[in-house]
Amino acid sequence: MCLAIPMRLMERTEMEGVVELDGIRRTISLMLLPEAEVGQHVLVHAGYAIGAVDEDEAATTLELLREYADNMEDL
């Protein structure tokens, strides 16, 4: 049960939020991530947002993977 899904926070009303991924919407609690902002991607686990996705770090990782992918095409 360690599965946590990155979903986008679409709305929030105090400690309740609505998150969305690929058209699927869910209502979750923001009690563990009170600073969550609408528009952010958050990690959702067992009905709660447990952390936020760092977009800069995500971009760095994707850049690294893009390099790997491009290098493999040259081989």
Partner: protein, 368 residues
């Protein structure tokens, strides 16, 4: 989050495997790395990563499945609670088919016990609100990713004065089990792939002791194939250089200090307890129990008679959980024990090593 597809990109995976093969060729000695997260167990198996790695680089699983390490006694206790009048038992789905000393929760439900499968502790809270005359007991199983959600539900129950919401404490924390692993003289692990989502909550610095105190490297990784492979590559590099550090390769989700809000609510509701793990016996301070002031929410305090606990005969789930054997070495694997007819917890749970191997590595090790 455009280009997130790169996390699963075929060429990126090939490039990482290429680098791993090169790194493995440079170091004469082989390496065994262990992951301690059921979601990693399944991610590795489902992506066929084992088969991509060069000979001499071995990936094994540890006690990463919270349902699997929960002893039979806990299920016996749950069944006894389910048999009480005016009681609704709520549980995550995985626990329904796990063996107790007698029957499963699923069988108990078929025989009339009120057992509900829930996705979240909040669902159990909602049931408590809708059924004020009934005691609702939530089976609190799970590691650090799940613990704060249960603590938050308990805090909410206090705030909303829902007196009929209780838990049967059974949560565990990973670092003490990892200490037991590094101190195990029979286990030779050269590095750990560290649990990505546990680390979101705890912070990656929680695992630093593995390197500083025990000289074992670790890499916190996410769950995509490229995440795991980047971890293997880093650990291989550390192994060949003889260094020991804990590195965070899941920076998009994991920080050094973790989720402080979650830590505060967990600390408010729970305190450490010595607890038994299947395969390990009792590990000090490895479990969480409710603090004395929340005793009214502890279903474990309800006086009950429990049977003498006993494990299913022949099941080697404990040895699998310690990383001592692969599932294929258990005499029951695919010879009486399968996901549709499970004998032990490791085969039942969606995070269990035996279940992952049955689905994706069923014919592994056949040339031995």
């Amino acid at each position: 989050m455009t280009d997130a597809g790169l996390l699963h990109d075929r060429r990126a995976v090939a490039g990482l495997v290429h680098d791993i093969v090169e790194a493995a060729e440079k170091t004469a000695r082989g390496a065994t790395f262990m992951e301690v997260c059921g979601t990693h167990t399944h991610a590795v198996a489902a992506a066929g990563l084992r088969r991509m790695l060069p000979k001499g680089v071995r990936l094994i699983s540890g006690p990463g499945c919270p349902v699997c390490v929960t002893p039979v006694r806990y299920l016996d206790h749950a069944l006894a609670l389910a048999a009480l009048p005016d009681t609704i038992l709520c549980t995550f789905g995985d626990l329904m088919r796990v063996p107790s000393s007698t029957i499963t929760l699923e069988q108990a439900r078929a025989e009339g016990a009120t057992v509900h499968v829930v996705y979240s502790a909040r669902d159990a809270l909602a049931l408590a609100e809708d059924n004020p005359e009934t005691r609702v007991v939530f089976l609190a199983v799970g590691f650090e990713t799940t613990v704060p959600t249960i603590a938050a539900a308990l805090a909410e129950a206090e705030q909303r004065i829902l007196e009929n919401f209780l838990i049967l404490p059974g949560n565990k924390v990973i670092p003490p089990a990892m200490l037991a692993l590094v101190q195990d003289p029979d286990l030779n692990v050269h590095g750990f792939l560290l649990p990505g989502h546990v680390s979101v909550l705890t912070g990656w610095e929680t695992f630093r002791f593995l390197a500083t105190d025990h000289g074992v490297p670790g890499a916190v990784v996410g769950f995509a194939p490229t995440d795991v492979l980047r971890g293997v590559l880093d650990l291989l590099g550390q192994h060949s250089r003889g260094t020991a550090e804990v590195v965070n390769l899941y920076g998009r989700a994991v920080s050094p200090e973790g989720n402080r809000t979650a830590a505060e609510v967990v600390d408010r509701m729970f305190e450490p307890a010595h607890t038994e793990w299947r395969g390990f016996g009792e590990i000090p301070d490895s479990g969480l129990t409710l603090r004395e002031q929340w005793a009214h929410r502890d279903a474990g305090r309800i006086p009950l008679e429990l049977p003498e606990p006993h494990e299913p005969a022949g099941c080697r789930c404990g040895d699998v959980l310690r990383g001592a054997i692969d599932p294929t070495e258990c005499p029951l694997f695919d010879a009486g024990c399968s996901p549709t007819q499970p004998i032990g917890a490791c085969m039942v749970s969606s995070e269990g090593t035996c279940s992952a191997w049955f689905r994706h590595e069923r014919w592994a090790n056949t040339n031995q």
